[in-house]
């Protein structure tokens, strides 16, 4: 938790409005109005990073909206937490890196 706290402070330097929440034993990093990669619709969405193992993935990035992308994605995560529904696509192997890199890597998965 302390490590996440330190990394969160680093992430806040880039995502100034990010907030940390805890629920059901998970830590969630909420980032409002996150810019999506070029070619995505909507171009901006709220996202939540779960930096721990969640639903079979070492980390997951949840989106407020299902993002339309040039690439065919498997949106297999529709999860209700922190009082609302969130969506995630199947994307693996994002682990063991600072929180900001996790967010960047997941976002890259939308298009790369």
């Amino acid at each position: 938790m302390q490590q996440i706290e330190e990394q969160f402070q680093a992430l806040k330097e880039t995502c100034t409005n990010a907030q940390v929440f805890e629920e059901s034993g998970y830590t969630f990093i909420y980032i409002p109005d996150q810019k999506m990669p070029p070619g995505c619709t909507p171009p901006v969405s709220d996202v939540i990073l779960c930096p721990q193992e969640h639903s079979g993935y070492p980390s997951r990035l949840f989106f407020k909206d299902i993002i339309q992308t040039p690439k065919q994605l498997n949106w297999n995560g529709q999860v209700f937490f922190l009082g609302q529904q969130w969506h995630a696509f199947s994307y693996n192997n994002v682990a063991n890196m600072p929180l900001l890199n996790m967010v960047i890597n997941h976002l890259r998965g939308l298009v790369a």
Binding site: G25, H54, G56, N76, V79, F80, F81, G83
Partner: protein, 268 residues
């Protein structure tokens, strides 16, 4: 105490008032939920918040209490079947029927005093538990399954779990964990046909309703020792405290009381 309640007067002198004022939520009105609704209506509960978005089909008739062959022809929503069942016993019941996934309209659930969950899958349960913990509402879950053992013999099992804020949750007891959630997500859309029959549902529903009655009335005088996790073995025909109930319970670390209430997300 009203005369109509004389056979259940042992439950306590406040029974009439409890039945008049307590609001019960039932999420999922299939095989399990329909039996819970039936029992609650017979007891005399007046206020309900019901959720189900499904319509009855021929395959439901072997276990959906209150349903008729004619309902199948009319493709009646399961909500209406439960509502009809309640009104047949309590014409003046107040019923809020929501024909949606509860996740699409969660606020109505927050007004309930107790919520029964009769849902498929672990993720669904985990999500409902997160809402009920945030809203400080006791949540009583029932479920059953049938799986073949290594000798290819069907094994029927199930559970009743009461998730009470301040007490251990489904994750504390390892009923829900990352492994079962992962398995479910990775089998997305491939859950197959879930085996369901009527009689285990009646045992599980009866146990869940009994638990709720003790929670509300403390008629045993020993509600503090109430078992909150039961395991059902359909092959043996037993329902008993889950073996993990013997482990001394610790404060729940998954849902801290200070994290209760709605979260307002947005810019700081």
């Amino acid at each position: 105490m009203s005369v109509k309640n004389n056979r259940q007067s042992f439950l306590g002198p406040n029974l009439d008032q409890v039945l008049e004022t307590v609001v019960i939520g039932v999420v999922g009105l299939g095989g399990g939920g329909s039996q819970i609704v039936q029992q609650l209506a017979h007891i005399g509960f007046k206020n309900y918040v019901l959720y189900d978005f499904d319509k009855i089909t021929d395959t439901n008739l072997n276990r959906l209490v209150g349903a008729t062959k004619q309902d199948v022809g009319e493709e009646l929503p399961k909500l209406l079947i439960s509502e009809r069942l309640i009104r047949g016993l309590l014409p003046d019941a107040l019923i809020s029927s929501i024909s949606k996934r509860w996740q699409d309209q969660p606020d109505d659930l927050k007004t309930c005093d107790i919520i029964f969950g009769c849902l498929d899958g672990y993720q669904n349960r985990a999500e409902l538990e997160s809402l009920t913990r945030r809203s400080l509402i006791p949540y009583i879950d029932i479920g059953m399954d049938v799986r073949n053992d290594k000798n290819d013999i069907p094994r029927m099992f199930g559970q009743v779990f009461a998730s009470i804020p301040g007490y251990p949750c489904m994750r504390c007891y390892d009923f829900i964990n990352t492994e079962v959630l992962a398995k479910e997500t990775l089998a997305y859309g491939d859950a197959g046909i879930r085996p369901q029959v009527v009689w285990p549902n009646s045992i599980l529903a009866g146990t869940a309703v009994g638990l709720a009655m003790n929670l509300l009335m403390n008629w045993t005088g020993k509600c503090k020792e109430q078992i909150i996790y039961y395991e059902y073995d359909g092959n043996k025909g037993t329902i008993k405290p889950h073996v993990k109930c013997d482990i001394p319970s610790k404060a729940c670390v998954h849902y801290k009381l200070e994290n209760a209430g709605d979260i307002v997300l947005g810019r700081n």
